[in-house]
Amino acid sequence: MPSLGKIARRTFLIGSAAIAGGVAFGVYAAQRPFANPNLDDLPKGSASFNPWVIIDSDKITLIATHADKGQGIFSAQAAMIAEELDVDLDQVEISFGVPDKAYYNRAAIDVMAGFPMYDNSPTAETVRGFLGGIVKLALPLMATGGSSAVPDSYDKLRQAGATARETLKLAASQQSGVPVEQLKTERGAVILPDGSEIAYTALAGAAAGITPMADIPLRDPKQWRILGKPMERADMVEKSTGTLTYGIDFRTEGMLHATIKVNPRQGGAMVGFDASEAEGMPGVKKIVEITGGVAVIADNTWRAIQAAEAIEFDWGEAPYPAEQDAHWELLSNTFTDAHLNAEARVEGDVEAAEGEEVVGEYRSPYIAHAPLEPLNATILVGENRVDIWTGHQIQQYVEQFVAEITGVDQENVHLHNMFIGGSFGHRLEFDFVKQAAEIANQMRGTPIQMTYSREEDFAHDFPRHITMGRGVAKVKDGKVTALDIQIAGQSVMRSQMGRMGMSLPGPDAQLHEGAWDAPNFNLPNLRVRSYRTEALAPVSSWRAVGAGPNVFIYETLLDEAIHKAGADPLAERIRLMGHEPSVKVLEAVGEMCSWTGPNIGEGRGRGVAYGFSFGVPVATIVEVTATDAGIKLDKAWVAADVGKVIDPVNLENLAQGGTIFGLGHAINCEITYADGMAEQTNYHDHEGMRLYQCPEIAFRPLEIGTKIRGFGEPPIPPSAPALGNAIFAATGQRIREMPFYKHIDFV
């Protein structure tokens, strides 16, 4: 029998089957902490109390391992440590640290535990705890995704700060003879009763000899100095002065630049190529084959791209339907028992329920991630060591894949994680890293920076999956009485994990996420079924993953039903909602905009939508005006319950940005395939939102829930249906397909 570790690495042990199988292991092993990786080569006189705090005689370093792709977690992690350590952020250096299992993400698994995130019952918590144990033993991955970085960090980083502080106090007590109880700490120093100070840096040597304290009680949030208050993000000055080094800006002695071309029919073969013209072009050093394509190595990125353009290719067929229409047709034939992914939710009896019917079919297209920094990685393959400079959300896998390609032991493969110029899920993929490794492996001794052209980035993106929804709602006596929703889509998780060499047994929860867990406890009849196909284009997690398309389907159908019932869209949603925090966010958003109903005269309309994803209930109201030139977005209001606010300013930025991201793509973006290739090649035909289209956006965070939540993704799902519902209110036109521009003009 393979070991548990092996099973879990190869088949993600997530979902019902694995739990029912009852894998047993010692609680002790699951609770024992991993060794502190900083101790491996810590210089004498330095102290590292836990994996997150290092102090030596001249500086304090805080380790912030979650990847930062713009969400601000770099700064937030440091702030959590600093709060308890009693240092200010201007006194410390913050580092992404080194990939190590000590930094594994405990919280990312919660969303996959098979229980709605609002379910805090003992059973749900036991399963989450159990899964957390499995993750730690079998798959202790550093990973940033699923809006999990804040929940993962919140307790453990504050604890890291507290244990370091108390250990430093102990060292100060031993040195000064003053009892610990009489010592205080402030701004990176221990304060003695006579007012004199011993800097932490001066205590590093002494503290290094003390076994770090454990289980220090955390401070009441009422005592917080840093957390919960507006902060200046640690990366803000650098990002405003062009001095931050993103992966693409990394420079090192002797480095050459490279770019690649692989089959734009994703996963198709390269039958042949002719690089004779490219070989003689200025600056070209070498042209090499890589998996599925070719790389040009040159002394300048632009020269590499020019030469790559001059290569003639003979590309093989795509392993999926060549034309977009066939994708939709295939999807429309997927609503069958043979393709059933899950009957995810059944309340009451939707078929027997009485009432007038409302029927709709909904579509959500493929969309590209297209973060502004194109994918890139710099790799130096040396004698018995490999260095990688790139930004990635799953760090250890980067090292593992590069080790496999170069044949260098994984322990000698070192990823230096970099700031990322946007991801939206793009930096969960590994192809760009593997390609850079294949190139660097053929150029041993020379650092190679591989950069995608924007066109390659579009052609080789694994986009958001397409989704089709079919719904039947019933209404009676002015109320919605039943929702019956079927969702068909490409399995994102199978597609994505397949590229990582893992298989996913059982259903893919992303195909009903955001619909099956809608907390409409007062709706007597609700059924959500999902259907799965794997025969379409390869796809990947796109910010909010399944909840994006699914909440659009759910909330548009619900809005149609409410309209048919003649009820108020906000009041009826509140009536159906049995979940207290969700009721509160709906009430809050209504209060913020002084809601008086969907029609507010003069061609103006308001739409409301609610979305539950990654544990966060969010309610959004959008206001539009129907003008002669088209729909104009005037305002949006967003309320969400995040449990606890870490930085109100950054949270507002994420609320605005997420709403804009949701709205912009709903209006403007799709990827379509022709001849097996994505037709959209650059931002001119897939731009998201631009400033002139952007409405004013007001945000109100609530702190009701008992758990702290991440907010990178939750603002996305309700934004698109809120806009669609607003357009209906303003014009009477119901739009059931994204992107909306195909059905109505926008200013």
């Binding site: 792709k69 713009g70 969400q71 601000g72 200046e232 993000r233 990366d235 803000m236 000055v237 650098e238 990002k239 405003s240 002065t241 062009g242 001095t243 931050l244 080094t245 993103y246 693409i248 420079r251 630049h257 002394d299 300048n300 990125t301 632009w302 020269r303 791209i305 297209a370 973060p371 502004l372 920094e373 194109p374 700031f419 110029g421 946007g422 991801s423 939206f424 950069t451 924007r454 950054n650 930025n653 994420l654 605005q656 940005g657 997420g658 709403t659 991201f661 912009g664 650059n682 931002y683 001119h684 731009e687 998201g688 939102m689 631009r690 400033l691 002139y692 952007c694 004013e696 956006i697």
Partner: protein, 153 residues
């Protein structure tokens, strides 16, 4: 050809059609201007050429002789922020930040021409700069703050 970047004269010999963006980034290692699209769609590469905001991916080397280029690095520094940069920090505009060099250069150019831009002016001038993270509401606010600072200076 010879040209000046942030007050320093440089001499480079490259193909006539190499875009300024790549001269800056890969020949001179000035990496503040970013590559986003290469086709004048995103504005991440925006710099000032003889005082005018331009997309550096669209200006070619043969147009550079004798010109003066200012990149984000030449606008202000962490220790001496330009008014626009200070406003960007005050409003905590950046998310991933990758577009912000270009946004800031565009905003600085706008305020050079018009120290009291209306909402419409801002919409018009700043809409060529794409922000995939959606920082537009903060960009609007920061441009107004910077305008005020510059008016008072």
């Amino acid at each position: 050809m010879k040209f000046t970047v942030n007050g320093t004269e440089h001499e480079v010999s490259v193909e006539d059609d190499m875009p300024l963006l790549w001269v800056l980034r890969d020949e001179l290692n000035i990496t503040g201007p970013k590559y986003g699209c290469g086709i004048a769609q995103c504005g991440a590469c925006t710099v000032m050429l003889d005082g005018q905001a331009v997309r550096s991916c669209q200006v070619t080397a043969d147009e550079l002789e004798g010109t003066e280029v200012t990149t984000i690095e030449g606008l202000g520094t962490p220790d001496a922020l330009h008014a626009v940069q200070a406003a960007w920090v005050e409003h905590q505009v950046a998310q991933c930040g990758y577009c912000q060099s270009g946004q800031i250069m565009q905003a600085a150019a706008l305020l050079d021409m018009n120290d009291d831009p209306s909402d419409e002016d801002i919409d018009q001038v700043m809409s060529g700069n794409l922000c995939r993270c959606g920082t537009y509401p903060r960009i609007r606010a920061a441009v107004k703050t910077a305008a005020k600072t510059l008016q008072e200076a």
